[in-house]
Amino acid sequence: MSDKNWEPKIVAFVCNWCTYTGADLAGTSRLKYPTNVKLIRVMCSGGIDPVFILKAFERGADGILVSGCHPNDCHYNAGNFHARRRWTFFDELLEYLGVEKGRLQFSWVSASEGKKFVDVVSKVVNDVKEMGPFKSYDELNSEFMTKFPDMPEIDKNMIIKEEEAV
């Protein structure tokens, strides 16, 4: 893919009660944001494992958003407080290892903040577009692919091609 029409792949790990519902509200309010972002719903921001981030990078994500309920608003009272500590470490660790800050971003978006959700995802998409493809991780990934060519990777383009053939 040429860099010109490169579109970043963005994943958002969101909690069920606040951010997912906030994203629902963005929809109900017909607000618009780029198609790049896909949400993975978990029950609570406290349940998002940092390894999910690594896995997503391994699967070619260029940017990641982690989002939950605002402090004191957690549906489970304290899940997000534990998450906050966890991410403080993980964010510093990744940055120290050379992952630019904007690749992994964090937010609190409540169920009533449809607009904020749109602002946050748009910012992540823009930041990542500015940074370009996540080359550093791509190198790790492609080395993996050359070493282990037989590993099954789901290729969406392949599926579409087959569909066109019908």
Binding site: T35, I40, D49, R59, H82, E162
Partner: protein, 665 residues
């Protein structure tokens, strides 16, 4: 595994921006997908029948529905699946409406994304485990916290329906703020007269366990099954012996050491006291901080006069636990004391009004006491400084409300009404007196409310001035109130004998601590949050916890009572069945690999993780591991993300499922 994919057009809602036929065709080729169809309205009866038929015909094991948010129709499709014989947890929803068609314009890009979303859902559903809903029993007892009018009403309603109630009030008597009011708008009927019978009814009700001078210390458990620990503070009076004769209170030598808080500090009370004559229960408490006996070890005057030997100096606080199914929080409000800047807040306060400095600058509740026939002046209008009858009173509205810079930005809602009431009560007694009201706007929405304010202005001649007061100074026993009449655009100065400030209604001092104890959210002011501002104003977001009265936001009496009855009804809905169904999204420990570090136990917000001893054949404990109490686990998954060795998993959202979604990105 055979999976069925069903793509809904949602009329035009999805179909307009997502090419649904293309999505369903593309998904046909996904590994594991047996059938992929699209239809105009999947949630409609024909749509659901189509799903059911396909499940039966193609013997599907799991389905993915590409439709609106799972928060809308997940239940519908789960039910359809169950009807056709598959486990409800083998249903996944791809959110093609809220998260796709409604938020994107480009048809191609939106369609591509829709395919991705369905693919992610397909990959997840492949890993889903069939689960069975968990049934938990319901304890049909209600805890009401706060014995103001809201708490009283809620307790009576629930109890009259035949369910037991535990009513916890932190003060020595129930009644709340309503017991302090003189007469009430918009009818001007005497507050005590309508309240006291209700208080007595609570006291005598066989289904109500009344615990005054008590506080909720700990709340464990979950909807239908709370265990609540209540601290019963030491009254130093044996409740079973005291007859409420009150001899001790009259003989106590401590006269001027403690302010009477019921009288809003306009009078003193002895060390052993009943807050007010109609108190329920009519049993005194001894205030250790001022009692001579606790200071010097001598006195015991009360002991000498009490014929029932009810005084018990060495009584201690006791902890009581109660099994509870539903909790109604009705802890009310307090007034913004502008003398003291609330700690830790950005509020600046109103030093320029001289509250706390000038004795005749009082707040609304103090004025209620002055106006009350049972108050410190027996209902005569006498100003606190010299006991003279004030001939000119200035009332200032919105002190601390609707004021971003010095107070709170919200409207306290009731001050317009009670200020009109105050001015009216004054004019009714002091016919030659003058009453001025400084206001920003008059907000008198409510049945007979506007009429009430008009009556104050038109019949009783209360003078309303639109504008704010900038400063109050004292001069020869008069209070010079400087302000501006914004309608006339001119400065105004009134030499008043007394000033009454309608200060903001704010959250109780320890509102946020209590919220944390119970586990309910609150707003930045400390008022408790309802689950939905329009459709669920009574429920908190925590299952089984309901809100009533001014603890949720400023309210007058009729609103508080209405909310209380609604909360009671909500509790009774819960009691309508013997068992509650719960989603089986709970954590489970892998006993083989758990290292017993108990990080999961430390992070679990519900104390759901317990210690389990693993014993060998001889019954000797060889290791301690984590164990999740299914009843308590609420399924947040915080434990799973914390466990370093991944020895604990959340059913319904297990890591394999998440990984599958990531892999399908």
């Amino acid at each position: 595994m055979k999976i069925g994919v069903f793509i809904c057009h949602c009329g035009e809602n999805i179909g307009r921006t997502v090419d649904c036929p293309r999505v369903s065709k593309a998904c046909q080729w996904l590994p594991g997908v047996e059938v992929s169809l699209d239809y105009k309205y999947m949630c409609s009866d024909p749509g659901q029948n189509m799903i059911k038929d396909e499940i039966r015909k193609k013997k599907l094991d799991a389905i993915v529905v590409g439709s609106c948010s799972p928060h809308m129709h997940e239940k519908t499709f789960r039910k359809a699946a169950v009807d056709a014989g598959i486990n409800p947890f083998l249903v996944e929803i791809a959110n093609l409406r809220e998260h796709c068609s409604w938020v994107h314009d480009d048809i191609d890009a939106a369609t591509d994304k829709a395919i991705d979303l369905v693919r992610m859902a397909v990959e997840k559903v492949k890993r889903n485990q069939p689960l069975t809903t968990i049934e938990v029993p319901v304890t049909k007892r209600t805890l009401v916290i706060g014995g103001g009018i809201a708490g009283i009403q809620a307790a009576l309603d629930v109890a009259n329906a035949g369910y037991e109630v535990v009513l916890v009030e932190k003060e020595p008597s129930i009644g709340g703020h309503m017991s302090q009011l003189s007469e009430t708008f918009p009818t001007l009927d005497c507050s005590q007269c309508i309240l006291t019978p209700r208080m007595v009814e609570v006291y005598q009700h066989p289904k109500i366990k009344l615990m005054t001078y008590s506080e909720v210390e700990k709340v464990e458990g979950f909807i239908g099954n709370f265990t609540v620990t209540i601290r019963k503070k030491a009254r130093h009076i044996d409740e079973s012996k005291c007859t409420g004769c009150g001899l001790c209170t009259t003989k106590c030598p401590v006269k001027k050491k403690a302010f009477n808080s019921f009288e809003e500090n306009l009078a003193y009370r002895p060390a052993v006291y009943v807050p007010f004559p109609q108190a329920v229960p009519n049993i005194p408490v001894i205030d250790e901080t001022v009692c001579t006996y606790y200071k010097t070890g001598k006195c015991q005057m009360c002991v000498k006069v009490c014929g029932r030997e009810a005084i018990s100096f060495d009584q201690q606080d006791t902890l009581v636990t109660e099994e509870i199914g539903a909790i109604i929080v009705a802890t009310g409000y307090k007034l913004y004391n502008i003398e003291k800047k609330p700690e830790g807040s950005m509020i600046k306060g109103y030093g320029e009004y001289g509250y706390g400095k000038y004795k005749d600058v009082v707040d609304g509740l103090q004025f209620e006491r002055i106006a009350s026939a049972s108050g410190p002046t027996s209902g005569e209008f006498k100003r606190p400084s010299d006991g003279k009858e004030p001939k000119k009173i200035v009332f200032i509205q919105c002190v601390g409300s609707r004021d971003d810079s010095k107070g709170f930005s919200y409207c306290s809602k009731i001050c317009c009404m009670y200020t009109a009431k105050h001015a009216m009560l004054y004019k009714h007694k002091v016919h030659d007196g003058e009453a001025y009201v400084f206001y920003m706007d008059i907000r008198s929405g409510g049945k007979m409310y506007e009429e009430f304010v008009r009556r104050a202005i038109e019949e009783d001649g209360v003078k309303y001035i639109r504008g704010r007061v900038s400063k109050i100074t004292e001069k020869n026993g008069k209070y010079i109130v400087k302000g501006e009449d914004t309608l006339a655009s001119m400065p105004i100065e009134i030499d008043a004998d007394m000033v009454v400030l309608a200060t903001a209604m704010i959250a109780q001092t320890e509102a946020s601590e209590l919220a944390q104890t119970i586990g309910i959210p609150y707003d930045k002011y400390g008022f408790y949050n309802e689950a939905h501002p329009k459709l669920r104003p009574i429920e908190s977001t925590t299952g089984g916890v309901f809100l009533a009265g001014a603890c949720q936001s400023p309210k007058d009496i009729p609103e508080s009572v209405a909310m209380a009855s609604a909360a009671a009804a909500k509790a009774m809905v819960l009691f309508g069945s013997d068992k509650l169904e719960r989603e089986p999204v709970v954590a489970k420990v892998n006993e083989l690999f758990c290292a017993g570090c108990f990080l999961c136990k430390k992070v679990c917000p519900y104390g759901a993780v317990e210690v389990k001893e693993m014993k060998d054949r001889n019954g000797v404990v060889y290791k301690e591991i984590a164990y999740v109490n299914e009843g308590l686990c609420q399924g947040c998954g915080t434990c799973t993300a914390s466990c370093p060795s991944k020895s604990i998993e959340l059913a319904g959202f297990n890591n394999e499922e998440v990984f599958a979604q990531i892999a399908a990105l």
